[in-house]
C-alpha cells in the first residue's frame, strides 16, 4: 500500500523567511502524481502545487516550489518570503489512478 509520511507535525517560520516542509512516500510505481494541499483555519483544502513523477523539473508556483527526488521518494515544499496568510496545515498527497493518499499534515505557524 502507498504511504505518505510527513515527519514534521509542526513548523514555524518568521515572516519573510523561507521554510521547507518535508514529505516522503512509499511506492513501487513509476508513474504517479504528487501534490501539496493547504488547509487554513477556514477548513477549505486548497491545492498549492503539483508534480508529475515523469517530469524531472521541479514544479514552481510563485513563492511555492518543490524539491522532487524520485529515487529517494522525497517531495518537499519550499515556501519563500513567508506571509501571515501562509499559516495553515499543509498536506502532502500521492496520487495514482484516481486514488489519493494523504500524509498526516504539518502545521505551519508564521511569526510576525
Amino acid at each position: 500500500a502507498q504511504t505518505v509520511t510527513q515527519s514534521q507535525p509542526e513548523m514555524s517560520v518568521q515572516e519573510a523567511e523561507t521554510v521547507t516542509l518535508s514529505c516522503t512516500y512509499d511506492t513501487s510505481e513509476s508513474d504517479y502524481y504528487l501534490f501539496w494541499y493547504k488547509q487554513p483555519p477556514s477548513r477549505q483544502m486548497i491545492l498549492v502545487i503539483r508534480q508529475e513523477a515523469y517530469k524531472q523539473q521541479n514544479a514552481t508556483e510563485n513563492r511555492f516550489s518543490v524539491n522532487f527526488q524520485k529515487a529517494a521518494k522525497s517531495f518537499s515544499l519550499k515556501i519563500s518570503d513567508s506571509q501571515l496568510g501562509d499559516a495553515a496545515m499543509y498536506f502532502c498527497a500521492y496520487c495514482r489512478g484516481n486514488q489519493f493518499y494523504f500524509g498526516t499534515g504539518t502545521s505551519l505557524t508564521v511569526i510576525p
Binding site: 502524481y33 501534490f35 477548513r43 494523504f102
Partner: protein, 113 residues
C-alpha cells in the same frame, strides 16, 4: 471561481439519528470523492464515483454509511444510525483527472452526541 458546495457546514445530531450530507460538484467534473478527516486518522477516503457510478467504497462502514449520486449535480453521504465515533469533518472533492488535482469543498463538521 468554480466551487464544490457542501451542505450543511455544521451538523450536531443525537446518536442514532440519520444524517445526510450533500455535495454539489463542479459542473462538468466526472469524479467525486468523499473523505473523512479526524485528528486521529487524518484524511480517509470513504468512497468515490466516476460518471455517477460508485468505483470504490471500501473505506466506508457498509452497515451504516451509504453514498449515492442521484444525478451529476448531487452527491450524498448518509449515516444511519449515527454514532459518536462518526464525529468528524466530511469533505467532498471533485475533478476530471487526477493529474490536475481535485477541488475540495469546505466540508461538513459533524458532531454526534
Amino acid at each position: 471561481d468554480a466551487r464544490v458546495t457542501q451542505t450543511p457546514r455544521h451538523k450536531v445530531t443525537e446518536m442514532g439519528q440519520e444524517v445526510t450530507m450533500r455535495c454539489q460538484p463542479i459542473l462538468g467534473h466526472n469524479t467525486v470523492f468523499w473523505y473523512r478527516q479526524t485528528m486521529m486518522q487524518g484524511l480517509e477516503l470513504l468512497a468515490y464515483f466516476r460518471n455517477r457510478a460508485p468505483l470504490d467504497d471500501s473505506g466506508m462502514p457498509k452497515d451504516r454509511f451509504s453514498a449515492e449520486m442521484p444525478d451529476a449535480t448531487l452527491a450524498t453521504l448518509k449515516i444511519q444510525p449515527s454514532e459518536p465515533r462518526d464525529s468528524a469533518v466530511y469533505f467532498c472533492a471533485s475533478g476530471l483527472q487526477a493529474n490536475y488535482g481535485y477541488t475540495f469543498g469546505s466540508g461538513t463538521r459533524l458532531t454526534v452526541v
